[in-house]
Structures are given as structure tokens and as C-alpha cells.
């Protein structure tokens, strides 16, 4: 099931679902890359608050998406990592250092904007 991508000004917003298949993820990466290019978006905010687990595969995938969109000129911010999920990720040794993280959508949009401004300097 394809994931809807919302456009809000210069930003693209995606909500990940726990039931997304690997194919959906690949599709998402391609769709985002395409749209960032077309709309010249400056940021992508990916909301993972619906995910009850973020394992090494999910983390790698998100990093991959962030990397791809960055190549097209957009800053990616992951938002909505739940407390228990953050805890588990850290126990596993997973980081999202190279990708921005924020608490929620509002914070995420602000962060993406700020990072883009910094990147321009």
C-alpha cells in the first residue's frame, strides 16, 4: 500500500505505518526523491510515531532515504520516535546521528527549515 506524501510549502511530510512492506519502503524512497526534485523541496519530515519497533533494518532504510533526498537537496528529519523505541534503539547501538531528529511534526518542520538555512551558508 503506497504511503501518502503531503506537501506543505517547501516541505514534504510522510507518515510511516508499521504495516509497510519492504516494497512500500523502496517505493517511498523513489517517490520522495522524485518529488523533492520536482518541487525543489527543502525538507522532508518522516513521522515514525506509529512504529512500535525500530530495528536495524528500519533504521538503515530511513538513513538510506535521508541520504537520497539529501542528494536532491532536501534535509530530512525523523520525528515521533517513542520513548520505548528510543530506548531499544540505543540498547541496540542504533543512531540517527547523520539525520535530524525531533519530537514531533511541529518541531520537525522547524528543524528542517533551520538545517536547510544552515546548509545554505
Amino acid at each position: 500500500m503506497p504511503v501518502p506524501i503531503l506537501k506543505q510549502g517547501q516541505m514534504l511530510i510522510v507518515s510511516m505505518q508499521a504495516s509497510m512492506s519492504d516494497l512500500d519502503l523502496v517505493q517511498l524512497k523513489d517517490d520522495l526523491a522524485d518529488r523533492v526534485g520536482r518541487f525543489r523541496s527543502s525538507g522532508v519530515v518522516i513521522d515514525v510515531s506509529a512504529l512500535d519497533v525500530m530495528d536495524s533494518f528500519a533504521t538503515r532504510t530511513l538513513r538510506g532515504i535521508a541520504h537520497t533526498t539529501k542528494l536532491r537537496g532536501a534535509e530530512t528529519v525523523i520525528v515521533g520516535i517513542q520513548p520505548e523505541v528510543a530506548f531499544a534503539m540505543v540498547q541496540l547501538g542504533l543512531t540517527l546521528d547523520d539525520v535530524g531528529t525531533a519530537l514531533d511534526l511541529e518541531e520537525g518542520l522547524a528543524l528542517a527549515t533551520a538545517r536547510k538555512a544552515e546548509a545554505r551558508l
Partner: protein, 251 residues
């Protein structure tokens, strides 16, 4: 409860001499032990009473075996064997109960001593005091992460001035907490880490580069406020035209 105790005691004494020492017997002993634990029976009192019991029974036995004291002694020794079995179970149960209570109290202490305080919009302080073992560190991290979400905190000042011993284990817990908070979009400033301790940790191979440390709590708070875009200005720095009556001047 007294009636239950007396009833159990009678059954206990009768069972001791019966000859059946299977799991039903053991269960009965455990129940007795739990009862003793609940009334807070001192182990010494229990042992004293048992000793008294054995002595009384022993004297009775010897009275009946004056002609063949060896036989009487053998019977007493059999009873003693059962008695020791009993004592072992009951003492074990008493100790178990005591440990359970201690654990519950420790849990309560942990709950009380891991406060996360919101001192300003988006700013949390976590003053850590005392010994940090793994259990407590876990609790702290969980509490903090929940608080970050609940308060939409963007900056956390974690003060470890009051932490008794900062070894590499504690340091690693701190690093993990910082990393988890970052995943939730919050920056953690660790204050109260003395230069000596920092050096020692680095020597142990702990990578402190991942955590933002500032000498003291005050410095940490100022940095936190700066990060959040606050600026704290003393009242008398405000222009006179807009000044409120200075509280220090009125008396």
C-alpha cells in the same frame, strides 16, 4: 490470625511425628513460614521456641526409655532430623519474605529519587543523587524519555554532582541516556562532571565526546537557556521608564 496459627501449629506438631515427609509436608511448612513472616516473627524467637519444644519432647522421650536410653536417643535423633528439615524450610521462607520487602522498598526509593523537573518551557532538569546502579539508571532513562515527550522538552540538564561514584558503567548509562534523548529531539547537557572524573573516564576508554558537558549546574542552565533562546536579564538593567518598583528598595 492467632487461631490460624494455633491450628497450623497443632497440625505441624502432629505431622512432624507422622512419618510422611513429602511435598504436602513441605508446603505446610512454607505456609507456616509465610505466616511467621507476616507477623514479623524474629528468627531468634522462632529458634528459641523450637529448641524449647525439642527439649520438652526429648525429656518426655527419655522418661519413657529409662531402661533403654540408647533406643530413646535414637528416637530423639530421628525427630531431630525432621526438626532440622522444618527449621531449614521455615528460615528459608522467612529470609525470602524479608528480601521481598527490601526489594519493594528499594523500588519505592528509586521511584522517589528519580525526579524530572520542568523548570521552564521546554527545559527539564534531572538532578541525580546517590548511587546509580543499572536498575536505577534504567529507571532514570525511562522516566526522562517519558518526561521529554510529556513536556515537549528540547533541552535537558542532567546534573550528576550528587552522584556517589562515576565509573565507566555509570558513564555508559549516561551516554545511552543522552543518545536516546537525542533520538527524541532533545539535547542533553551534563553538569557536575568534575575534570578529574572526566579524565579518569577518558583513560578508561569512555568516549565522552558524545556528551555535552559543562562544569556546574549554573553554567549548564545558562547554556540551556541560551539554546532555547532565553535571555535572563536582571530587573535593574531594564530602562527606568518601564521599571517596576524594585523589590529590594522597598522595605
Amino acid at each position: 490470625m492467632l487461631d490460624e496459627a494455633k491450628k497450623l501449629k497443632r497440625e505441624h506438631l502432629i505431622a512432624m511425628a507422622q512419618g510422611e515427609y513429602g511435598s504436602a509436608y513441605a508446603d505446610q511448612r512454607v505456609r507456616l513460614g509465610v505466616l511467621y513472616a507476616r507477623v514479623g516473627l524474629d528468627i531468634r524467637v522462632f529458634l528459641g521456641a523450637f529448641h524449647h519444644l525439642m527439649r520438652t519432647v526429648g525429656e518426655e522421650i527419655m522418661k519413657r526409655f529409662t531402661k533403654t536410653p540408647q533406643a530413646g536417643f535414637d528416637i530423639f535423633m530421628s525427630l531431630k532430623k525432621v526438626a532440622f528439615f522444618d527449621i531449614a524450610i521455615i528460615v528459608d521462607t522467612l529470609i525470602d519474605e524479608r528480601e521481598r520487602v527490601i526489594r519493594a522498598q528499594q523500588e519505592a526509593i528509586r521511584e522517589l529519587s528519580t525526579p524530572v523537573i520542568q523548570i521552564r518551557d521546554r527545559l527539564l532538569i534531572l538532578p541525580m543523587i546517590g548511587m546509580i546502579d543499572s536498575e536505577r539508571a534504567l529507571q532514570l532513562t525511562e522516566n526522562l524519555l517519558q518526561a521529554i515527550r510529556a513536556n515537549r522538552a528540547r533541552v535537558v540538564v542532567m546534573d550528576i554532582t550528587g552522584v556517589a561514584a562515576v565509573d565507566s558503567k555509570v558513564a555508559n548509562h549516561l551516554i545511552q541516556t543522552v543518545a536516546a534523548a537525542r533520538l527524541m529531539g532533545a539535547t542533553v547537557i551534563v553538569t557536575g562532571l568534575s575534570a578529574d572524573v572526566a579524565q579518569a573516564l577518558v583513560a578508561l576508554g569512555v568516549d565522552l565526546g558524545r556528551i555535552n558537558t559543562i562544569g556546574d549546574l549554573q553554567g549548564g542552565l545558562e547554556e540551556a537557556e541560551r539554546l532555547l533562546g532565553y535571555k535572563v536579564v536582571p530587573l535593574d538593567a531594564l530602562s527606568n521608564a518601564h521599571a517596576l518598583p524594585n523589590p529590594r528598595q522597598s522595605n
